[in-house]
């Protein structure tokens, strides 16, 4: 099929329709648009670069195989991230891995790191590790990935009211842990 627009100019629905017709290039563009968020979410669960890559690959393959069941006028992102989440949880169960494997590079010396923004990021990672998995994932989806509550409700399979209350408790816990860390330092 001859298309007047190039793939990167197309809407997501147009790309998905072409992918369904067997145009792999269109699915390649879908991959480019969603890969970063998919990888970040998988890494958030698995804390391992290679495992996260594997999960992202499997999720895109699974999504492609089920594309005919997907309503192309819905947003593809939350659906894909639901698959990423499920595959990540399966991978954790399979390997019985605790979620702490590959924290971003080790923390520099405490005294020298007060004004360093990279230190804040390390501290936030460490603080997130102290939250429950439910709280960690909701903070990650909202504040790191910038999803709306409706999308988060779809990804996690929970009502929107639960998203709001869970996020509230998660953020309060995060502040508590960050304060605790600051007092110790």
């Amino acid at each position: 099929m001859q298309t007047s627009k190039s793939f990167h100019q197309m809407t997501e629905a147009e790309l998905l329709e072409l992918a369904l017709k067997g145009q792999t290039g269109a699915y390649g563009e879908i991959f480019v648009r969603h890969r970063a968020k998919a990888f970040a979410l998988a890494f958030q669960y698995l804390r391992n670069h290679e495992d996260a890559k594997d999960v992202v690959q499997d999720a895109f393959i699974k999504a492609y195989k089920n594309l005919s069941k997907f309503d192309c006028h819905r947003s593809f992102g939350p659906w894909l991230l639901t698959i990423v989440r499920n595959l990540s949880i399966d991978a954790i169960r399979r390997t019985k891995r605790s979620a702490v494997q590959e924290l971003p590079p080790s923390l520099p010396d405490t005294r020298a790191r007060k004004a360093d923004s990279t230190v804040l990021r390390h501290e936030v990672w460490a603080a997130l590790e102290k939250l429950s998995p439910d709280h960690r994932e909701i903070v990650f989806l909202t504040d790191y990935q910038g999803h709306r509550y409706l999308e988060i409700a779809e990804i996690l399979g929970i009502p929107i009211g639960t998203v709001m209350s869970r996020l509230h408790h998660a953020r309060r816990n995060l502040v508590g842990v960050l304060k605790e860390t600051a007092e110790k330092a």
Partner: protein, 144 residues
């Protein structure tokens, strides 16, 4: 609305997820409640902190490799399905033509059909076993 009810909605207020009416109600409460203002400031602090997170992404080369792997695998499975369906249809058509042919003796037709039936049953049993095993295989994620 009391402080407890307001508190749970503060994250929604911060993320602009509430209706205009709900937001106005919260703003009105915040004007007269230092405790809820403090909670809101804490939530904002948590939000800012989480927004500073940085994560290393795969390199350009890794992305390219992943993309070709995904596209190859996705089209390969479609190819397998087409191949299997077409093979079955071709075999069924050939058998039908053979069965309808008046020149072949009946005993020969029975022997050929028996042979194909055996192969088909064997193929089906292996296929169903493989599908069942792949669903419950605890080691399928283990790299060989």
């Amino acid at each position: 609305m009391n402080c407890e009810e307001i508190e749970v909605s503060l994250s929604g207020y911060l993320d602009k997820e509430l209706t205009q009416q709900e937001s106005q109600r919260i703003e009105l409460h915040l004007q007269s409640c230092p405790r809820c203002r403090k909670v809101l400031e804490e939530l904002r602090e948590a939000q800012r902190a989480a927004q500073t997170l940085k994560m290393a992404q795969p390199s350009h080369e890794e992305w390219r490799h992943m993309e070709s792997h995904i596209l190859e695998k996705s089209t390969r499975s479609a190819g397998w399905v087409i191949l299997i369906v077409w093979s079955i249809m071709t075999a069924a058509y050939a058998l039908f033509q053979y069965a309808m042919s008046p020149n072949e003796p009946m005993i020969q037709k029975i022997l050929v059909f028996g042979l194909f039936l055996g192969i088909a049953l064997l193929f089906l049993s292996v296929l169903t076993e493989r599908i069942r095993e792949s669903r419950t295989d605890r080691y399928k994620g283990v790299q060989k």
